[in-house]
Each structure stands twice: as structure tokens, then as C-alpha cells.
């Protein structure tokens, strides 16, 4: 390998030594790319240089040759470090590919079906801060009611994402007819308490809309309060209920409360990635979120969710500091 490059190196350097010009330097630098492409180590480059110099100027003194040998010795560890970096980069590419597969697996695993009950318009958006999402939205659908769980693992990334599959399978295994919010949280809490270690905490909000009496009942395991928009007054109220984070105590009881929804009213459920949006001037306050929601109160649930997301993401220059999830349940006139 080095013979051909060596010959060319000698030619380019020979021209330069005869009459130094910027052009030769430019050509030489372009040529150095070939060295890099062929993964020629720094110590080999010096050796090529030395060989070329011997052929061009054999009359030079021993100090020159010795100094080049010394330089070769100096470069051995540079060469090793370079190769180590190259190997670490390849390793990282492999990890990245695994992550991409894992993300796809997560998406498939945690798939949820949008509810479809009359009089309820549903929209949501859930964006991970890093590649894998530690927020989770899951819909439980029945004929006349639709439930939604919004969960957030404290922490983000892979550990949080692994935790989520547990919630999903817990929800799938819920006994029929036992889907009142206090019961749902009670059951999921026991599953989480048994399965995760003490350093992992999950907050969860569970809300359920009943189409027959248009009530929205809910319970919360240490989760962000939801916002309830009343169309007739244009005012927001916070929906919060007492309850510990999931996984802290096996026998935690969860308070259940409810509100009645009228046409045009909506509920916004979110994770702290929304409420704790950080900008250069610090955290945003609830008013910002309420104003954003009010601006688009007449739009569809999905449009409302996306509006809030785009605005808050823009405030952070599209670099989310935490996983971001918002779910909108909006009461619409019944279609008969």
C-alpha cells in the first residue's frame, strides 16, 4: 500500500522543496485525505516522509534522520488513540442502530387505540426528549365510555421506556367492569410496587369520560393536575385528586372526583414536560398554557394538542428538556 502513496508523496514534496508555493501546499493537503481514507497511521506518514526525504536529499545530516525516528516514536500513541477512536465510533454506530430498533419495538409495544365514543373528541401528542419516551398514553375503550391513562416515569430515556411496558400490560390485564379511576390506579400501583425497585417512581393520571351522563371522573397518583376549560365562562380550573406516586406503598388509596362536561368544554391532561417547560427566562407558568389553550378553544382536540406542543417546543428551540405529552378530551355536541 504505501509504495504508490509514497511515490506520489515524494513527487508533491519534491516540487515544494524545489520552489515552495501555496499551490503545492494545497495539493499536499488534498493528498493527505488519501492517507486518511486508507487509514494510514500518523507514524507511517512520518515514515513515508522520511523515505521521500532520503531519496530527495541523501546528503542531509544524521540529526535530521534521527529526529525523524524520534518523531515516529512520538507518534505511536497518537496512532493508537486514533484507531481507538475509530473503533469507538463504529461501536457507537452499532448502539445507535440498536436504539433505532428499540424505539420501533417500543412504538409497536405501546400502541394504543384512539377512543371513539359519541360526543367526545380526542387528541393527543407525545414526544420524547431523547430517543425513547418515558411518558405514556393509553386509552381504554368501551361502548359508552373511554378512559385514558397519562403516565410519566421520573427520569427519561431507556430505563423509563422499559418501565412503561409494565403499565401497558397492567392496563391490558384490568378486570372488566372495574374501571373506575380509583380502582385502576389502585391495581396499577400494586403491580408497580411489586415490580420496580425503590428508585423508580411513576406518576399517573387516569380519567374516564362517560358518554351517557357526560361526566369526566378522574384520579391521580402524584401527577400534574389536569386543566378543565368551561366554555360558558371561558375559565380554567385545575383537576387534582389526592394520591401517592405509583410504587411507593402497596395499599395506597386514590381519591376519585368528577366533573360534568358541557358542549365546548375540554380537559387537558399533561405531563411535567409540558408544565415545566423551561425557557431562557426560567419555567413558564400555568397562565401561558391556559392562554395557549384558550387561543384554540374552538378547534379540534388534535389541533389544540398540536398547537400547545408547537408553541412550547418553539420556546425551547425544539430541544425538549423532558418528554412532552398532552391529551385533550373535548365535549362536542352529540351527533345523532
Amino acid at each position: 500500500m504505501p509504495q504508490e502513496v509514497g511515490r506520489q508523496y515524494k513527487e508533491i514534496m519534491g516540487k515544494y522543496l524545489e520552489s515552495p508555493s501555496e499551490e503545492d501546499l494545497y495539493v499536499g493537503q488534498q493528498f493527505s485525505r488519501r492517507f486518511i481514507e486508507k487509514e494510514i497511521a500518523p507514524e507511517d506518514v512520518i515514515s513515508i516522509h522520511k523515505t521521500a526525504l532520503i531519496e530527495l536529499h541523501p546528503e542531509l545530516q544524521d540529526e535530521v534522520w534521527n529526529s525523524l525516528d524520534f518523531l515516529i516514536e512520538m507518534m505511536i500513541h497518537y496512532g493508537l488513540t486514533l484507531r481507538e477512536h475509530q473503533s469507538l465510533i463504529r461501536k457507537q454506530e452499532a448502539i445507535q442502530m440498536e436504539m433505532n430498533v428499540a424505539t420501533k419495538v417500543q412504538d409497536t409495544l405501546l400502541k394504543t387505540k384512539m377512543p371513539c365514543v359519541s360526543g367526545l373528541d380526542v387528541g393527543y401528542i407525545s414526544q420524547p426528549a431523547t430517543q425513547m419516551n418515558g411518558d405514556y398514553v393509553y386509552f381504554l375503550n368501551k361502548k359508552h365510555e373511554s378512559g385514558v391513562a397519562v403516565a410519566d416515569v421520573i427520569g427519561k430515556g431507556i430505563p423509563a421506556a422499559l418501565c412503561m411496558s409494565m403499565i401497558k400490560f397492567g392496563m391490558d390485564g384490568l378486570p372488566d367492569g372495574n374501571t373506575s379511576p380509583e380502582n385502576v390506579l389502585g391495581i396499577i400501583n400494586r403491580i408497580v410496587e411489586k415490580s420496580v425497585d425503590d428508585s423508580m417512581f411513576i406518576s399517573m393520571f387516569y380519567g374516564k369520560y362517560n358518554a351517557e351522563d357526560t361526566t369526566f371522573s378522574y384520579a391521580s397518583a402524584g401527577h400534574e393536575p389536569a386543566l378543565h376549560f368551561t366554555n360558558s365562562t371561558g375559565e380554567f380550573s385545575e383537576l387534582d385528586a389526592k394520591g401517592l406516586l405509583l410504587g411507593v406503598k402497596p395499599d395506597t388509596e386514590y381519591e376519585e372526583r368528577s366533573v360534568v362536561l358541557n358542549d365546548g368544554d375540554f380537559i387537558a391532561m399533561m405531563t411535567d414536560g409540558v408544565t415545566e417547560t423551561r425557557t431562557e427566562d426560567g419555567f413558564i407558568d400555568m397562565n401561558t398554557i391556559q392562554n395557549l389553550l384558550r387561543e384554540v378553544k374552538d378547534m379540534s382536540a388534535q389541533q389544540i394538542a398540536e398547537h400547545v406542543y408547537h408553541h412550547l417546543a418553539e420556546l425551547q428551540n425544539y430541544r425538549l428538556s423532558d418528554d412532552f405529552t398532552i391529551v385533550i378530551f373535548k365535549k362536542e355536541p352529540e351527533q345523532v
Partner: protein, 133 residues
């Protein structure tokens, strides 16, 4: 052909002696300047590991032939604590000598063949060969 010479590694200066021996042998075997430097660096790293982690040990250098190929083989042996987790030691980014140490993956890269045998509490033997191309 069985030309074998060795250096005991007890003090830091013995590392220099092992290097010198290795470079002379590599030169005599016909390796070019760069490969001489690589072989010497490998010996240096192995000797340093002995000095730092085992306290004392030995570097042996011998000429080898295989199917018309000529080369140089280095055997670094000690009766030190051994390497508990070989896999970890062979990983890039994990260097036992810290600082500028090239570690085991470095030695492996400098040479053509590399074998390590280690038993916790009994010692470590590393055998590595470079062939004349």
C-alpha cells in the same frame, strides 16, 4: 531457530532494558523503523503493566517462523494478582494503566497475534506476535 532472550522486570529501568532488547531484536529480524517502534511500544506497555500491577515478572523475546513467515514473539509473564475481568480489559476506552497507557487493546493493535491467559491470584501470561510482511 530458537533464539530466546529475556529481561526480568523489577524496577522501572528494566522497562527500558526490555525496550532496548525488543528494538534490537526487531531490527535484527528485519523490521522497518515504524514496526520496530510498534514492537518496542508493545513491549513497553506489557512491561509497564507488570511493573505497575504485578510488581515483578519477565519479558521474553524470541524469533519465530511459521510456514515461511518470520516474526517476533513476546511473552510477558508474571505471578501477580491476575486480571479478574478479561473482557473488560480488552475493551476500548478501558485502560488499566490510566493516563497514556495504551492498554491491552493497544498492544493487540500494535501486534498481529495476541493471546492472554490469566488466573486470579496466580498471574498472567500474555503472548503476542508480529510477522514480517
Amino acid at each position: 531457530m530458537d533464539l530466546r532472550s529475556s529481561v526480568e522486570i523489577i524496577t522501572e529501568w528494566d522497562i527500558v532494558a526490555a525496550r532496548q532488547l525488543g528494538r534490537n531484536e526487531a531490527k535484527k529480524a528485519g523490521f522497518g523503523t515504524v514496526d520496530q517502534a510498534r514492537i518496542t511500544t508493545a513491549i513497553s506497555e506489557l512491561a509497564r503493566n507488570i511493573y505497575l500491577y504485578a510488581g515483578k515478572g519477565k519479558i521474553e523475546i524470541e524469533r519465530v517462523t511459521d510456514n515461511g513467515k518470520f516474526g517476533i514473539k513476546i511473552i510477558a509473564s508474571d505471578e501477580g494478582p491476575g486480571i479478574p475481568d478479561l473482557r473488560k480489559v480488552m475493551e476500548d476506552g478501558f485502560s488499566t494503566s490510566g493516563g497514556l497507557g495504551a492498554g491491552m487493546p493497544g498492544v493487540k493493535r500494535l501486534m498481529d497475534e495476541f493471546k492472554v491467559a490469566s488466573e486470579t491470584g496466580a498471574g498472567t501470561t500474555i503472548t503476542t506476535t508480529k510477522w514480517l510482511h
